[in-house]
Structure formats: structure tokens, C-alpha cells
Amino acid sequence: MTDRWTPRLSEYLDGDLPLAERDGLEAHLRTCTACADVLVELEAVVRRAGSLPDTEPTLDLWPAIAHRLASGDETPVARWQPRARRITATLPQLAAAAIVVSLISGATAWLISSRAAPAPAPAVVVAEAPVRDALTPAAEASYRAAVEDLRRVLDADRAKLDTVTVRIVEHNLALIDRAIDDARRALAADPSNAYVSAHLAQAMKRKLDLLRRAATLAARAS
């Protein structure tokens, strides 16, 4: 059963009814049990709507999404460079992360392309082009800024982490630092060594990955 007030009940419930009409409706509700009942039901609908659970898709959609990302024109490796400059001002770690990703673009592309389609059998073996000017002073500076940024994020929350976890993280960061130092020394001795250059970049990225992981864990800890 509805009357002229029924269509206004939702507005009333949401606090959207003008004052004069609100008074009129409240007076009506005191005498009309039908409208009062509907109002209670509408309140319950709103409560129910606000508490609907989010559910994941039955299928894991990521493989299909990853395939679309890898097969599209805008692969991450292809687009990292222009973006890096634009974001530098607000999030320095973006730029550095991009630089490190670029250093290991061979490895990244390997993973991505491996999911897209297998490469045809090579008739002639051609080694990947060496990454030469990998560590320009600008790249180095951006990388350091990224490490410092992630360090700050981690340090802000590190007290939330168990002391054993902190020790483990620091131990492993030290291991990676040692690998980075080894690679730097090797590169100084043999600047044209493409493998060492890529290896250094890989180790630098691993350091960023570990810092990110630790920062995420610390942020998540209650």
C-alpha cells in the first residue's frame, strides 16, 4: 500500500527532504503504520547494501590480463622511460625503479615474452646487446633516491616488525649490497662486460624488491 508520502521515504531516510516536508512526513509517520513499516524495511535495505561482501571472480583473471598487457603496444619496458621523468618530482622512487627496470630490460622482456609466445628456434646464436651506459650518474642518483625513499618508508614502520624479522631483512639487504659491490668492482675492471652490467642491475632491482617487500610487511603489521 502506498500513499503520497511513500515515494518520499527514501529521501527522508537519506536526510534529503526539505525541512517543511520532513516535519509533514514525521507527523504522517506517527499515524500511518504502513509507511512506518516501509521505512523500517527501507532502512534494512540500506544497511544490507552497505554490508554486501566483495567476492572474487571464480576464475583467476590474471593470466588473461597479463597476456593482454604483454601482447599490447604498451608493454612496461616500452613505456617506462617517458613516465619516469614525469613522476620524479612527487615520487622519486618511481624514477629509480624505472631506471633499474630498464637496466634489466632484457630479463624483464624475457619473462614477459615467454608468456606471450615462444620464440622461434634461432638459426644463428646472437647474444643480447650489452647494456653499456647502464650506470650514468643520473641513473645512479635516481637509484639511490629510490633506496632512500623505500628506506624511509621501512624505517617509519620498522618498530612494528618482529626483531628477528628486522635482523633477517638487514642480513639479506647486506648480502645484496655485497653482490652489488662485487658487480661494481667487476664492472670497474671490465667496463664492457655486458653480463656483469646486467647482473649489477639485477642485484640493484633485488635490493629495491626486498626493501619494498619489507616496507609492505611493516606497513601491514599491526
Partner: protein, 279 residues
């Protein structure tokens, strides 16, 4: 997000939990146990059984297509041993902090993450993603795509069919009885061993900074193999002819058979070994 507030049914228990209820195919299980254990076994029924020894500090929330089990932490975390028996088809998301996680017999997608504790998985199908900080990761009998990120601990993977991607920092990586066309395994301080098939057109990459890398193909080996080291060694049981050399002379590539698969073996400071066909 709204989800936890929205439990369509939430149950509390007086002393401990031992409850079994029906779940519809397609329902996921999400478990968050801050400390203790999460042990999941699969069974053939469309029912979920949840047991906790001697505690009621667990909330069970049943949504439309998800069941969530979480340690209630109002008074701080405590050790809880969660034993769960789930339908084999049920996708699992398991997280903990000081938590050991085991999954046995599942035939579904799985994610598991623990900061301090081992993760042991037997079975699994589809995407399996495992993260450990301080603990070993063991995977056996998976058919699907495996991704492991371990920081301080060994990773052991055996009898797995499907794509494999493993990153470790301080720990060995052992891959045994693998059937895969895409394998990537990388560690900073640890050995890597691969024993498995090398499929035509497949891609295999093993990299360590300070550890030995051993690659043993089972069956035929038609691969273009790139070997790189700075101060390590290369040993091969298979006679190889180096067709190209570059860098400091310790980065070279050679072809076996048709050269169809691509294999990259790298160790900055360790020994790289290429083993002959076995079995």
C-alpha cells in the same frame, strides 16, 4: 573495504572450534592466522571443516562465494593451530606472520604468505603464489604456474608441471623432476639445481651471485645455451663447441641439437655445471 562487516553468517565458539559446513563449488577460502599453524588438507566432499585446538579466538565469516577464517586479535596475537579440511577444488588464500603453512592434496589455485615459518605444499593446480621471509618453501606435485618469493630460506620444488618463477636471496633453489617450458630461478647467495625436461621452444634461466648453478636435462636437449660468469667456472659433461664469445671471455653461447630452447645459466662467483641426459 566492507567485507568483514558483512558476514552473512558469523559463528563464535565457546572453547574451541570444530565445525563442518557445506560450501558451494567456486567458493574461496581465505585464512589469516597471525601465529601458529595453518594446515589444510583436501577431501572429496563439498564441505569445509575447521578445527582449532583449545581456543575460540577465531572468526569465521561466510560470504557469497568466500569463507574467511581469521584470528581475532583484540588482545594481541596468540598461537593458534588451525586445521582445515577443504574440498580439493577450493581456492586457498593463506596468510600468517609467525605461521607455518601446509597444504596437502589441493587441486586448486593457492596463495600462501608467511613471514616466519615454512610453507609446504603438496598438490595444487592453477596459479600458486608463495611468499616466505624467514622459512623454507617446499612444493611437490603441482600442476600449474608456480611463483615463489623467498628471502631467507631454501626453496625445494619437485614433480611440478608448468611455468616456474622463483626468486630467493639467501637460500638454495632445488628444482627436481620438472616438466616445464618456462623456468626462471634466481638467488643471491645459494646454489641452484635444475633437473627436468627441456622442451623445444622453452626458456630456462638460472642465476646466482654466489653459488653453483647445475643444469641437468632429462630427455632430449635441443637448446641454445648461454653461460655467463665473472669469477666462476664452467664444467660440462656434454662436449660443446663454443660458437661465440663476448665480454671478458666468460660469457659464451653454444648450440645443442636444434637449439630450439633457450637456456641461460649465470653465476657471478660460482661453478656452472651442465649435466648430461639422465633417465
Amino acid at each position: 573495504m566492507l567485507w568483514t562487516l558483512l558476514a552473512s553468517a558469523a559463528l563464535a565458539f565457546p572453547q574451541q572450534v570444530d565445525t563442518t559446513f557445506a560450501v558451494e563449488p567456486g567458493t574461496r577460502l581465505q585464512v589469516n592466522n597471525h601465529s601458529g599453524r595453518i594446515d589444510v588438507r583436501a577431501w572429496g566432499r563439498n564441505e569445509l571443516r575447521i578445527e582449532t585446538g583449545g581456543t575460540r579466538r577465531v572468526s569465521i565469516t561466510r560470504g557469497t562465494r568466500v569463507v574467511r577464517v581469521a584470528q581475532i586479535m583484540r588482545h594481541g596475537p596468540t598461537d593458534i593451530g588451525l586445521r582445515i579440511t577443504a574440498p580439493a577444488w577450493m581456492a586457498l588464500d593463506l596468510t600468517g606472520v609467525e605461521t607455518a603453512i601446509t597444504v596437502t592434496g589441493s587441486q586448486a589455485a593457492i596463495t600462501a604468505e608467511s613471514v616466519d615459518g615454512d610453507i609446504v605444499l603438496q598438490g595444487g593446480r592453477g596459479l600458486v603464489v608463495l611468499h616466505a621471509v624467514d622459512g623454507d618453501v617446499t612444493v611437490e606435485g603441482l600442476s600449474g604456474r608456480l611463483e615463489v618469493n623467498a628471502i631467507d630460506g631454501a626453496v625445494r620444488v619437485s614433480r611440478v608441471t608448468g611455468e616456474i618463477s622463483i626468486e630467493a636471496v639467501d637460500g638454495d633453489i632445488t628444482l627436481d623432476d620438472i616438466t616445464s617450458s618456462v623456468v626462471s630461478a634466481s638467488t643471491i647467495d645459494g646454489d641452484i639445481v635444475y633437473r627436468g625436461t627441456v622442451q623445444d621452444g622453452g626458456r630456462y634461466k638460472l642465476t646466482s651471485h654466489d653459488g653453483d648453478v647445475t643444469f641437468a636435462a632429462t630427455g632430449s636437449l635441443n637448446a641454445t645455451i648461454a653461460v655467463a660468469t665473472f669469477s666462476g667456472n664452467f664444467e660440462s659433461e656434454i662436449p660443446v663447441t663454443i660458437t661465440r664469445s663476448k665480454g671478458g671471455g666468460q660469457h659464451f653461447t653454444f648450440v645443442l641439437g636444434s637449439g630450439s630452447a633457450r637456456v641461460a645459466l649465470e653465476s657471478f662467483d660460482g661453478t656452472i655445471r651442465l649435466r648430461g641426459a639422465r633417465r
